[in-house]
């Protein structure tokens, strides 16, 4: 009886196909691993500096406009309050007081004014506020928003 053996050229081609397939699988697995890393910070996150426990306060909106030669910034924040207790599901009382200020930068990213004073901000649960800041001089081209917890 004649027994058909695979030719050596065909064997090499099959090995190459296996190698390509395994490389593709490895690449896909690496890509999926990359997907699990934290997402890149948004522009709002990059423009916000947080100090202390301010996780309950979300920066909802940020916008700016040049009005009469001075940059005017508006930041909308909302206090969602601390997360409810895991065991009982009860809402925790939110008595934290916050402070905020704007930092004004020129086109080169240099600070155009000495540090602003921290302004007190009292936000109860689910309360939002529109915080408006006006640049101290016409050199200001950009701003950063700083928020901290002081009590």
């Amino acid at each position: 009886m004649y027994k058909a053996y695979p030719s050596p050229i065909l064997a090499i081609k099959r090995n190459r196909q296996k190698l390509i397939a395994s490389t593709a699988l490895l690449g896909l697995s690496l890509l999926s691993a990359c997907n699990t890393s934290p997402p890149a910070p948004t522009e709002k996150q990059q423009m916000t500096t947080r100090m202390g426990d301010t996780a309950a306060v979300e920066v909802v909106d940020m916008r700016s406009v040049v009005r009469n030669n001075l940059l005017t910034a508006q930041v909308t924040v909302k206090n969602w309050g601390p997360k409810p207790d895991k065991a009982t599901g009860e809402q925790k009382e939110d008595t934290k007081l916050y402070g905020y200020r704007f930092k004004w930068l020129n086109a080169s990213g240099m600070v155009v004014f000495s540090d602003e004073a921290w302004k007190p901000l009292t936000l109860t649960r689910d309360q939002s506020a529109d915080l408006v800041g006006i640049a101290p001089n016409p050199d200001a081209a950009a701003f950063r928003f700083e928020i901290n917890q002081y009590k």
Partner: protein
């Protein structure tokens, strides 16, 4: 000296000795040892809530709000060159002693740092200006070409005036202080009130 007298003398000396031993620590305990103190620097811009009285945070917030609003006004921004202004001392219409000179100077410094306005000598500072001009021109100690000539002062186009007032309410458990700060810009020639801004601050103290 009999035994009785000897024992009496010994007893007295023992008592005195005991007293002497007791007075020594008393003398040392009278030396005042102050409690240990800790000195540290803090953030001058941080929020201060020691009492409900007018404090550094209120001063800084008021000065910032007022100057930024004034700088953004059309009167200042539509001027071809930086207008000359004077700033009168802020009037304290509260029952609380507030250093209004500090507040006035803070507002003036922030306005000057913006480069958007120029300050002319105010009425309070006029005497020192007159004295200096007289000293340069009448003492005979200066070269003629280097002296500040009288009659060349620049008059202010606008004057800034401000007041601070409060409403205080309190009961046994709570005290509420409401501050209202007002700043006005008046055109000296026309007498028109060109700009006004106010800042309100509420502070409460609970027991």
């Amino acid at each position: 000296m009999n035994k009785y007298q000897l024992s009496t003398v010994l007893l007295i000396s023992l008592v005195l000795g005991a007293c002497a031993n007791k007075t020594a620590p008393q003398q040392s305990s009278q030396i005042y040892i102050p409690p240990p103190t800790v000195v540290k620097y803090g953030d001058s811009q941080s929020i201060e809530t020691v009492t409900a009285d007018f404090g550094s945070t209120d001063l800084q917030t008021v000065a910032e709000t007022m100057t930024r609003s004034l700088l953004q006004s059309k009167v200042i921004q539509n001027s071809i060159s930086a207008p000359t202004v004077t700033l009168a001392e802020v009037k304290n219409q509260t029952t609380e002693p507030i250093n209004t000179r500090m507040m006035t100077e803070k507002i003036r410094t922030q306005l000057l740092k913006s480069g958007q306005v120029r300050f002319a000598i105010s009425a309070n500072e006029m005497q020192s200006q007159v004295d200096e001009t007289k000293r340069q021109n009448q003492s005979g100690m200066y070269r003629n070409d280097g002296t500040a000539k009288p009659g060349r002062m620049e008059g202010a186009k606008y004057r800034i005036t401000g007041t601070i007032s409060t409403i205080v309410k309190q009961n046994r458990d709570m005290k509420d202080v409401f501050y209202n700060f007002n700043l006005n810009l008046v055109n000296n020639e026309s007498g028109l009130l060109e700009w006004a801004e106010e800042k309100e601050i509420r502070k409460t103290v609970t027991r």
